[in-house]
């Protein structure tokens, strides 16, 4: 699976794996959207890019689409562990004005992450 979903408290974590392009994005999208639809109670959706080995602008489309869906339900999203390059591509869209985006250098210990 290109996406591993973990739910902890009010947070859905989506760990993306491998390459994100126009070919691979639809499968990732439906896995994340299923998690959003099945978990009405969540507060934040975290898209974790630490396992992403390549991304083009399809990755931006994936994030923006998930932002729109979450936002329509009154939920927030956050993007974590972007590589330097992916962060640069992401910023071209201005998504950082709508949702926090973080580079991989800001990675924290997974176990202590987002306990609330």
């Amino acid at each position: 699976m290109p996406v591993i979903i973990k739910t902890r408290a009010n947070v859905i974590y989506a760990y993306l794996k491998g390459e994100i392009d126009h070919h691979t994005a639809p499968e990732m999208r439906s896995a994340i959207d299923d998690a959003i639809i099945m978990n009405e109670a969540f507060r934040v959706l975290v898209l974790d890019f630490s396992g992403v080995t390549f991304m083009d602008s399809s990755g931006v489309g994936l994030v923006m689409g998930r932002y729109r869906l979450a936002n329509s339900k009154g939920k927030n999203i956050r993007v974590d562990n972007l590589s330097e390059r992916d962060y640069r591509i992401m910023k071209m869209s201005g998504i950082e004005k709508l949702a926090p985006i973080n580079k991989i250098t800001e990675k924290k210990d997974e176990l202590t992450y987002e306990k609330d």
Partner: protein, 144 residues
């Protein structure tokens, strides 16, 4: 500039070929001894251009995508991505950041990304004839 090597390839506009095409171009161009960063730049640019051929030029149909990759002695990689698809009626508009003629999850950043990760970008297009995108990337890794 002096050509030292050239690759030509033709493949179907199927999305499964996006990964293959960007990897093939970079594999050929690595004879210039580039950095991982520069390889990533070329991969990204090729991925954007090939996606445009699949999503826009040959929308709802399968056509051929033609790539020529030329390596120059001066340390420049030139990638030409050509299609015989529908063409772009308004190139200026198509190149505007965040503009997309399609909805859904298209970000409208394809040309912006190509511009940002290359040294030179040239787009030629005729409606009903096709589009050619030419990208030059200077390889600095070679000089170090």
């Amino acid at each position: 500039m002096k050509k030292i090597n050239e690759l030509k390839m033709t493949f179907d506009s199927r999305s499964v070929n996006e990964s293959f095409s960007r990897v093939a171009v970079v594999a050929f161009a690595t004879q210039l001894d580039m950095t991982v960063e520069e390889m990533g730049d070329i991969k990204t640019v090729v991925s954007e251009a090939v996606t445009n051929c699949i999503v826009h030029a040959y929308r709802n149909t399968i056509g051929k995508i033609y790539i020529t990759c030329t390596v120059f002695e001066e340390g420049v990689v030139r990638v030409k991505i050509r299609d015989k698809g529908c063409g772009i009626p308004d190139i200026e508009k198509a190149m505007e950041p965040l503009y997309t003629s399609l909805g859904g999850d298209r970000s409208g950043l394809g040309f912006s990304v190509m511009e940002s990760f290359s040294d030179k970008l040239l787009v030629r297009s005729r409606v009903g004839v096709g589009t050619t995108v030419t990208i030059d990337k200077k390889i600095k890794g070679k000089l170090i």
